[in-house]
Every structure is written in C-alpha cells, then in structure tokens.
Assembly symmetry: C2
C-alpha cells in the first residue's frame, strides 16, 4: 500500500466485513467512515455509482465491490496470501466467493436480514411474515444443504484461511444479527466451519463494533463507535435521511 | 490448458459470449453445448448449482460464473493477456466488468432482453409495456450516461483489448437482438466504442451463430448450429421443457 487506506461502509455489512478481515489479515491499517449505504450523500454517489459499500480508497485508486477490492489488495501486497496458490483451487475459491456474495447475499441479506433488521429499523416497515417463512423454511436450508457438501470437516477450505472461507463466514454474522444460528444437528460441517472461521482474531476484533451497532440507533453510530475507539475517518459521506437506491455487494 | 475445453451455454447469452471471446483471443479451442439455462436437465443442475451459464469444464475443473472462468483462463494461460498488467488498471478493469455483469445485466438482460425476447419466446408471455418504457426512458439512459464518462474516444479502455471492453460490449449484442441501438448523437463515445469492440474478429466469428439463433425456435437450435458448422459438443445437458429457476451471470 502506498498511502493510508480509507473504507466507507458500515461494520454491519457482510461485504465491508470481508474487506476489513482481508485488511487485518494482511496487516494493513485503515480509517473507516461507517455509513449505511441508504444514508450516503451525493459525494458517496460519486465515489460509488451503484451506491454500494464498501468503498476503498488509497492514494492510487477508488474502488467499490468487495471482490475487486480484495483482489486489488492481494495484487498490491501478495503476502500473506489471501487466495490459494494453486490455479484450480484459486478458481474454486473465487467461485465460492461468488456463491456467497450473490446467492447467500440474496437469502441472508435481502430476505432474512432485510426482513428482520433493515425493514423495521431503517424504513419503519413491518417484517413480511410470508417472505420470512419462505426464507427460513426453504431458501436458507437450500443454501446450507449446498454448503454442507462443500465445506471441510476440519480446518479451512484450501489449507490456509482464504477469500472463500471469509466470504462465506461473513454472512453468518448477519444471520446471527437476525437471531438465526445454524442447526448443528442438521448441518454439522457448516456449523463447525462457521464457528472456526468466526473465531479468528481478524473477525473477533470487529465483533464489539458490530454487536454495538446492531443495538444502536443509526444517527448515533459514529458517536458510539468513537467511544469504543473505532478507527474513524474524520469526514463522512453520510447524511441523515435514508434514501432507497441500487445497492448490492 | 491441459485438455479439450467444454462450454455449456447458449450463444445468445452475454456471459457465454464473454467467455467465448476470451477463449478465441487466447487461441484456445472448445466444444459447446448451446443450451439455454431454462432448458437445463438435472445433470446441468449438478454442474451449475445456480443454473447459470456458461459452465466451463477442462480436465482439471468445472466452473460456472463468467468472471471466475475468465480469470482462470488468464491464470492458466497468461499470454496473450486479457487483463491489464498495471495493478490499478487491472482493478479498474475488474470493476467495469462487475458493473457490466450486474448493472448492465439487470437493465439490458433482465429488463430489456427479457421483456422483448425471453418472455414472448420462452414463456409465451406478453411484453410488459410499463417495464419496457421505464427501461428505455430511464434505466438504459442512466447506464449510457455513466458509460459515456468512462469509455475512451478512441481505442480500448486500457490500451490492448481487455476483460473490461469485452464485458461491456457483450451486452450491446443482446440490446441489438432486442432491436435497441445506441443513439450516437446522444452518446457518441459509447456508440463508437461499441462499434469498435464488436468489430473485432473474436466477436465477428460468433455473429452468424448468434444471429441465426435469434431467428430459430429453441428446439431447432442444435440442428441449425450443426448445419452452420458450430463446434458442437456431442452430449447435451438440455431438455425440452423450460423450467424457471435461479440464473444469473
């Protein structure tokens, strides 16, 4: 890295979490403007045309999309490696990341987390019981059935921790914010894997910020994070009025 | 590459097209099973859990997701390069690919192409005039306004042709299948760029297959492609009954 790294985006987002874990694993310091994307101002729209978080900035480039950011971090600072060395394993890891970011994103974020957390707290809307039931009874089990065939009984997917493990585990933090935990009787590999990955120090260091944000009204986020000693960026791209718009990984 | 490459997926898909152009630029031969994803059988669901096309197979790995496939091709056979050498340019190219695959995918495929081509021909449903109008009047202009600020007045985005140029241009082929062309008075850079990229031999070699498929009933696709001398895979993962399901890039 050639300059201080800045991240725009809330600790609550799984895509922000992926990038923060990658930065931590590589030992790269950063400052963060922890906004939720619905609350981005016009400058935010300029740096993130699709109003996505996280946004990454260093002295050379501004990037959105967590996958593009992590690959750039790997290209810029290859050690410690965050992608498998073997070409075939690397492709499989990228596919598992894509599976997590799109399919798990749809189910864990746009259905479960959206219904249980975002709708009531950001928009003041009631949880849609039919969507929630479909998610809990069908969509989440479908994803977990698939993961159960992919995940290892011990250790990580490709030996060392990689983008694949981190991408998948990030969504289970948001599941827990919506009070969903994996049934270890039904999906033992997945339950064990998630526990192992989320116990890594790079995840652990974020938990007190995340847990507090889930219990804090949005307008108070910065103030409370400052009290907790989060590495806040001084300027903010946030506003006080939620705004609907395009926003994905 | 260590073995003959097999591609599953229709010539009509922008994501299949991206991979076929990449293979052509790298001089890698392939066989193709040109199914549309709605017509994939149970074996297709096994190789592509999200029922996406293209599926890529060689002796070492089976992959879905066009971005993962192209990056694997680059890792396996780095020359000629399909990604910029400079780390910052490479990150920007990956972001433009992501913008194309998700935002242009939404607008060009899931709204425009879906309404004009897929709904009537695959499902026997009428075009939704309100969605089509919103797409033509607002969504497509929004995308083109953004592209107009990103694309070069001459040549390609990063000197040599790269993943970014190809990813963007692929969607304009599908726009033309839906009889939409860029207004060169309003978006001159975009119109010129699209014309330059689509004139490359790697795109030109696919056009007779694509143009014919757009005019051929789906059950006749294989037969007509065989007559045209397409490099067909002998086996097929296709069935004759369309089936709705998850399917993205």
């Amino acid at each position: 890295m050639t300059a201080p790294v800045q991240i725009i985006g809330s600790y609550v987002s799984p895509y922000v979490r992926k990038v923060l874990v990658c930065l931590d694993l590589k030992g790269i310091a950063y400052k963060i403007d922890p906004i939720i994307p619905f609350m981005g101002d016009d400058r935010f729209a300029q740096v993130s045309p699709l109003r996505r978080i996280p946004v990454f900035q260093d002295s050379r480039v501004t990037l959105t999309d967590s996958s593009v950011i992590c690959q750039y971090l790997e290209d810029s600072q290859p050690e410690p490696a965050f992608y498998p060395r073997d070409i075939v394993d690397r492709a499989r890891a990228r596919w598992l990341e894509e599976f997590a970011d799109t399919r798990m994103g749809d189910v864990f974020i746009w259905r479960l987390f959206n219904q249980v957390v975002i709708n009531p707290r950001v928009w003041g809307e009631k949880t849609d019981a039919a969507i929630l039931e479909q998610t809990l009874e069908h969509d989440l089990p479908d994803v977990l059935n698939h993961l159960e065939t992919q995940l290892p009984a011990a250790g990580f997917l490709f030996g060392e921790i990689s983008i694949a493990d981190v991408s998948i585990a990030c969504f289970f933090r948001n599941a827990s914010f919506a009070r969903y935990t994996v049934d270890a009787g039904r999906w033992p590999r997945t339950a064990g894997f998630v526990e192992r990955v989320l116990a890594l120090p790079s995840f652990e260091r974020l938990k007190r910020f995340e847990d507090k944000m889930i219990r804090t009204p949005i307008p108070k986020h910065r103030e409370v994070l400052a009290e907790l000693g989060a590495p806040l960026l001084e300027e903010t791209y946030g506003t006080t009025t939620p705004r609907r718009g395009v926003m994905r990984s």
